[in-house]
Each structure stands twice: as structure tokens, then as C-alpha cells.
Amino acid sequence: MNSVQKLLSSDETIISSHEVSLVQGWMRSSKHLIILEKNRDLRGLLVVSETVDYALPIDSDFKFDVDSESKSKNVGDVFISISYQKQKLLFEMLPPSKANTFINELLRAMEYQSRRKTAGDYSWLKKYSKKTDLSLENQGVVMDASKLLLDYNEHIPRHSVARGAMQPVAARDSVIKYQMGMMEDQYTYTQGIQIFIGTWNVNGQSPSCSLSDWLSITTDPPHVYAIGFQELDLSKEAFLLNETPKEGEWLRAVTKSLHPGAVYKEICLVRLVGMMLIVFVEENLAQRVDHVVCDTVGTGFMGKFGNKGGVAIRMDLEMTSLCFVNSHLAAHTEEYERRNQDFHVIASSISFNGFLPPKSIKDHDQIYWLGDLNYRITDLDLMRVKNLINQGQYETVLEHDQLKRQHDLGHVFSGYKEGPIHFRPTYKYDVGTDEWDSSEKARAPAWCDRVLYRGEDIKQLVDYKSIPSLKISDHKPVIALFNSDIRIIDMNKYRKKLEEVMKRLDKVENEFLPQVMVDMNDFNFDTLRFLEAQSKTLIIANTGQVPVRFEFIKKCDDSNYCKDWLRIEPYTGFIDPGDKCDVKLVVYVDKRCASKINSGQDKISDILVLHLEGGKDLFITVQGTYERSVFGCSIETLVHLNVPLREISPDKLKELERSRDSSSVSTYSVPKEIWFLVDHLYRNGLKQQNLFEHPGLPSEVLLIRNWLDTGSTDPIPGSVHSVAESLLLLLESTAEPLIPYNLHEACLTASTSYLQCKQIISSLPLHSKNVYLYLCSFLQELLSHSDENGLDGKTIATLFGQIFLRDSPRSRNDPSARERVNQTKARKKASFVYHFLVNDFSDLISPVHVS
């Protein structure tokens, strides 16, 4: 877009643009289509990627087709194919829902251009791109699908695919149609068929004679008849109401007189006032006729009435599109320019609906134009004309034929051909005779009734002639016989090709699925310890041909894509083909997950699902052995441990954790680990400034962990701050906080009343109560030294409130838990604990069990 904007001149504007993907062979790449306008007049279409690929004038050579897979519905893909001269590009509109606006603009541009009288100068488009040749071979992208089928591997622009600039096509109808279209000649053949064109100005007469002399004169029955009449009915009723009994009369007469050697089906009949056109197709061939549409246009009285004008029928016969036009152009010798104009009006106004955009006459492979074209002989003496004709010297007379002259000058019927005329002029005779007009007007003879054709593969047979024996009109009927090639599908070959295309599309789709390799599927972590992170690297290599987006995804019942002791960095990413991505797997057992592993509720074992967007999933197994620690043990377990934790088997620990027996007689009234830590602080930390606020050293915390787990007899290592932090950590690592979750609501409610708070504490399980009171006693002692350590009750109460009444992990994830709510909660927790820092609660202390 930017590259285009920079090039815009002041009189050029962008009318519309749309994102598309251009289908090239088996690949598609993203582009923009931009409609430009210059001077509020000429329009052009640009195909833009990073720069402008093509700049196409929207002129008479520009065509486009819309192919929507579900035209009637809102959903579905929209493809448009744009052709310029003989070449074609297929675009998928993205998103399809917005394609309409752009298509309407394109239609408008084409409509506008079709109304132009002169060809425009489109050289202004050249500054965008000199390429108007749509051939993709210029771009190094071979379009020949037949070659692609054979040498598919060589012709895939893998480099572009790898860069993400191209993607493989999807198996869409339009894509398949396009692929099939590219190798049409591989499953089609041509067959010559005989087309009979007849035209007759019947001067308002009824069919009072047999028409066999006209319609049934060939040896072999024609395959197709297109028969046109003019002046079928000259009555006012016909003119004003467009109703006439003659339609039926002539239809019956024609039907009766068709070649007896074949059975014909009436494909279409169209009439405007006196102009009628009927198409018949031989019965068997008729099954292969499709998309029959007709239209009419009046160019007569006031320039729009139907006394003059044209009627047309189009149809597809197998793969070939045929169009038949019957016209009656303006009369009178001197009016040849009106006739030219009528021709142009008909050629540009006839519009066949049912296509988007609607098709016009020129959009057909073969066009047969017949009718009373009304061109006369000029600049030649009447007697001389009659003499020359009587001598059979038609050529001399034809030099003065207006149609020949206008045609040679390029003023009318350009691109059309006409067979050689070897028959007498068809106008104007005395009715019932072969005599020239003997009336007062004594009109000069003229070849008014003609048949012209346009298109490849049409061979005019010698039979272009008039039928003098039909004498009921002042015109003689004319026939023109053609041997035309139509393209026919060989169904067997077609199915085979279609199968090949479908198979290829499957293959393309499978081949361009995202593919990666990982260096390892199994990760084993040895001897993991509490609070010690270990990491390993998973290497994901993109071994496929397309860029890959990967993501570790959740398994069904899980809330996260990995267990909470594992971190994956990054858990999602993008890798180009040939590239790789290092993913760090970090195992870290901390206070959140230690208790679950101690209790056996969780273990260091996880299967990760590595999902490739649009492709397969890989499983990565992560396992490890964890050296259990007192951190993560419940109070109940700790009071029962009479040996260091390291000497306990994981199974024994699991059993203790599961039973959480608070009733049976325990070794200790408070866990010895807590006692050691508190006792150390009591001895060494009462006067320490910022105790519990100042963090400890992580390395010292690990030493203290080892000291506790091994039951060392050495002095506790580390500073008092590290000891204080270890104490907090120990309390925070348990599965449930010291005051169980189910009592939290009651605690918060009771926080204003010491009495009620005491009641809650007295109802705690024995060991929790002991620990609680033990710690509060210690904290009271600590606060009694506030002169030296600077601590105050409020701060301590707040800190320990969060620990004794720790929120459950679930509520911490609750987004509805607002900041303000949390603050209120924290205040209440602090109030609860504060009671026990300032009051004497010795009445709660049960007699100490001395062992």
C-alpha cells in the first residue's frame, strides 16, 4: 500500500482495496488488490505484494468472474478470477464477508469503461509496474498445472513457502476448478457440429407455406438451429403490448419444418415485438446444453422501442459458450450510421444475468449475429445494379454494399466475419414473386438480411444463401451453415484428472503440514531438592516446509499446560523452516507444591503436549526424583517424626501425610524443626532489627534446609534473618495453613472479639493449637524487646496473619478477589492475630507434655 501511495499523482486516487490471496499452481500468497482512478475517468487495477506485481488497465480487455462457493449464503469463500487478454489470475478474497464492496467497485469500473466511446490512454499505469502480462513464468512461478502434476517437486517454490510468503492452497472448489481449467486440453476434445443459422424478415405475414425449403435443405441434419425473424407482426398490439398470435404460428411452422433426420428440442425462444429468435438443439446434444439465458434490447422509436433492436440467446454447449443475436437495425438507405449505432447499442446493452458479473455478447467463444441489418447499396445506379445482378456479377455490386464498407472501415462488426455472398439480394421483392419491387418507391435491391460470426473454430460452409422459393414476404429468407468445433469433456479422462488433482491437493496439504523434530522426548531430572531449580533445554527444530507456531497445550482435566513445579520458557513460539527454538524446562519445587509431592498427591512426572498449529501433537515426558524435605510436611507429620526426615522413606512419609493423625500420642508437642528455629531466634534474634522483615540469603536457607532434614547436631547455619525466613517458609509450605481453611471465615468474623478468637483457637487440632500458641508466645517475647528490635505489634500481626490464615491457592487465582477486598481481609487477619500478641492466653495452654 505504501509503495502505491508514494507513486500516486495528484489526480489519482485509490478507490478501493482488498486483501486477497493469489493462487499460483499449488501455492497461494497474500496480496492486495487496489482499484485506482485517474482524473475521475480511467481506472486501473493493481496487484500488490511488497511492490506492485501487475498494473492492469480496466479497459475492454479486462474481465473478471466471481466464483462464490455459496452464493446465496453469507458464509463461504469468495474467489475472483481476473483475466486480461488471454491470461488469468485467481484470487481468494479475504475475508469473504467484505468482498462485496470491492466487487461492486470493480463492477462499477467495468460498467463505466464499457460506456466510454473511445479507448483511454493507460500509460499512466506504467509507473506502478510495467507488467501487464499476467504470465507467471515471468515471476519464476510456473502456472502450467499439467507440468506441476508431473514435476511437482521441482516446481514448488519452496523458498517462498519457507519464508511464509506462500502457503499451500486449500482444497476449495474454485481452486480445483482453476486447476482443472489449466489442463483443459488434457481431458477435452473438439467435435465439429453443424450449426444452422436462418434469418427472415416476414413482413408481418403468417406462415402460409411450408418452411422445409428453407430449414430442411442439408443432407445431414444440423445439430443446432438458430432461427431469427423480423417484422413477425406489424400490428399496433404487437408494438404496444408485445403480444402476438404470430409467435405461436411461426414456432409451429418452424418446428414442423426442421430437418426430419433428427429430433430437436426447443432450447429457448425470445421475442421483442417483431424480432424473434428460436434455438433448437438435436435431442441428444441438448442434454449437454447448460446456462441458457436470453435478453432483448430495443433501439427503435425514441431510441428504445422494440420495433427495432435485438434479441439474443446464450448457452454453453459442453465447454463452448455460444451466443446468437437476432437484430433488426434502422431502416432507410441513408441511415447507415444509425445502423452502426444500433449495432453498438445492442452489443453493449445485451446482458445475460445469472453470472457475476453478467455476461455480455463479447464474452462468448462463438457469436452468430443474424438479422435484417438493413444495409443498402449506395452510389450505384438502380438499373445498373439490377443488370449486374442479373448477370450474376455480385462482387461489383457488393463493393457498394454499406455493410462491407462500414465493416472495412472498422465502424461496425469489428472482429466479425461474413462468408462470401453468392446469392441475389434478399430485398425487395413483390410479394409472391421473384420480381424486384415494382411499387412507386421502387426500392433498390439490397442484401439486407445477413449472417456474421465471430470466434475461433467456426468454419463457414458454402451454404450461405437465400431461398427465393419462399415468396410470402418482400424479403427472402437466408441461411448460413457452419461447421463449428465445440470443446467436449471426455468424462473418463476428466474423472481421472480430477482424481489426480484431488490427490495432489491431499499431498500438498500433507506435505505442507507443520513438521518439527525435538532433540529429546524424555527429560529426567535427578535429585531435585526443595527450592533448587534445575533446568534442561528442549530443542524444537522446524524440519517441515512451512513456518510453525507451536504451543504447549492443556490436557483435558488440567488447568494449566504443565504441573505447577514446572515452567516452560517460552511455552509458545514461532519457528521458520530450518530454524530451531530452545525451550527451557525449569523444575522448581517451592512452597506451593512441596506438600503435594510429600503426600504423594503429585509426583515429578508430567506429559506435555506440544501442539503445532494446524498439525500434529508431540508428547514430552518430564520426570525426576525429588529428595523430600521437612518443608512441605504437615505439623502432624513433623510432630511424629522422631528421626531426621532423610531417614524416612518416601512411602512412610506419604503414609504420615495421608493419615495426618492429630490424636495419637506424638513424640513432640510442637515440631522439633519449629522449636529449633524459634529457639535459635529466641537466643540470637530478640534484639535484631527488622527480624522477619529482612530477607535471608537463599544459599543459607538451603543450608538450613539440609540441617533440618539431616537432623544435624552442628549449630544452625546462617544468619538470624535466614533462620527467620526458614521458619516462615516452613509454615507456608504446609498443605493447609496453621489455621485450616474451613475456619477462615469464622476467624475473619471473630476478628473484633478476642473471646471469639480464643474460642476458635481452642477448637484447633491439638498440634496446630500448640504451634500457634507457641509462636504467639515467642512473638510476645519478641515484641517485649521492641525498644531494641524496632518491631511493632501491628506489623508482626499483619505478617503472621497472612501466614496463619494463608489464602488457598484457588482464591488467589480468583480474579473477583479485588484489591480492596483483600486489604480488608488482611486487616481482619491482622486483628485476629493481634489479640494474641497483646493478651495473656495462658489459660489456653494445655499442660505441656514432657517426654
Binding site: 462464490s68 458464509v75 436470453c294 496439504e509 490436557k555
Partner: protein
Amino acid sequence: MGISCSQMSSSGQYSYSYIFKYIIIGDMGVGKSCLLHQFTEQKFMPDCPHTIGVEFGTRIIEVHGEKIKLQIWDTAGQERFRAVTRSYYRGAAGALMVYDITRRSTYNHLSSWLTDTKNLTNPNTVIFLIGNKMDLEGSRDVRYDEAKKFAEENDLIFVEASAMTGENVEQAFLETAKKIYQNIKDGKLNANMTESGVQHKERGGPASLGDSSSSDKPNCSC
């Protein structure tokens, strides 16, 4: 005006109108991935590594003149992945349950695979039993009639096949699709339901919107 012109109609006549989801299940090493490969590529893949994850393949087939796109999920057979692969069963229209005719243990485990399939898929999921490696007749460990009986008792379609020679591979995938198609035509399977494992393009389901690579395939293993 006495005209009788037909108007053109444009409907999808080339591309597929249905998408069927398949899963391939069975013990490790019975040849699930090779069957998939043989079906999508018409080639035997020797030295195929164990699938650690879920492979994905696709092919368009024709049943009764209708084009159908098969999306096939080939699951890891290892026991340790069983819990994870279970989440891929949901929304499968067809399940190809594979054992190895030369290893009885793989046959003996079928009832457990069958239980999973019945529990995790919808009642109309077509289950097709494939006895793979029929080319290794000399090492046969499971008799044909025995497996045939098992299939009949459990209402499964059964065929012995060879991913190596390709024999009966195509048939297994196609027969399954025919049966699913029949179920839709009989009204047993509602192509509108997400659980059915079938998407009908005319219904304007996700398959007809946007790019197949982003919407046709699940982005979560659930």
C-alpha cells in the same frame, strides 16, 4: 415474451462436502502410523519410529459420489501415554482399532481399547477392527476366525490388512467412511453436533469458513 430460459446455478461440485474425524488406536508397534502413511501416501514406511504424540494426516475420498475429507489422528500406542491420548477420542466419527496378528498380546488388549472407545466416543462412532501385518502369515499368532468372532460379538467391522503391501488398507478407511455416511443418511448421526465428528459444509459449520488449517483442526487436545 415467450421465453423459457433456465438460470445458471453454481454449487460446489468439486470439493468435499463432509469432514470426518478418525482416530487410530491400539498397542505400541502394531503399525498404526504405517497404516496412516500407506493410506495417505500409498507407500510403506519402513523403520517407522514410535509415535510420541499424535500424528495428523488428511485425504479426500469419495463415497456415493460425495467427496469427504478425512482428518485422521494417529495416536501414540505406549501405555504411559494412554491418559493423554484418551483426550483425542472425543468427537471421532470413526475409530480404527489396530492389533498385530503376529503378537497375541496386542490382540488381548483389544477389550481395554474397546472400553476406552465406547466410553469416550459417541454411540454412533464407527469402530473398525484391523488385524495388521497380514503379510507375515508365517508368524501368525492370532487366528482370523478368532478375531472375526470377537468383532462380531462386539459389533465391529473387521478386516485383516497389511500396511506393508497395502492390502485392504484403503478398504478399511473407505468402509468406515461408508458406514459413517450411511449413519448420517439414516439419521442416526447428526452432522450438526460437534460430538459427531462430522462436519457438513453446507451447514455453514467452521469447515466452510476461512482457512482449513486453522479451523478444521482442534487446537486443544481435549
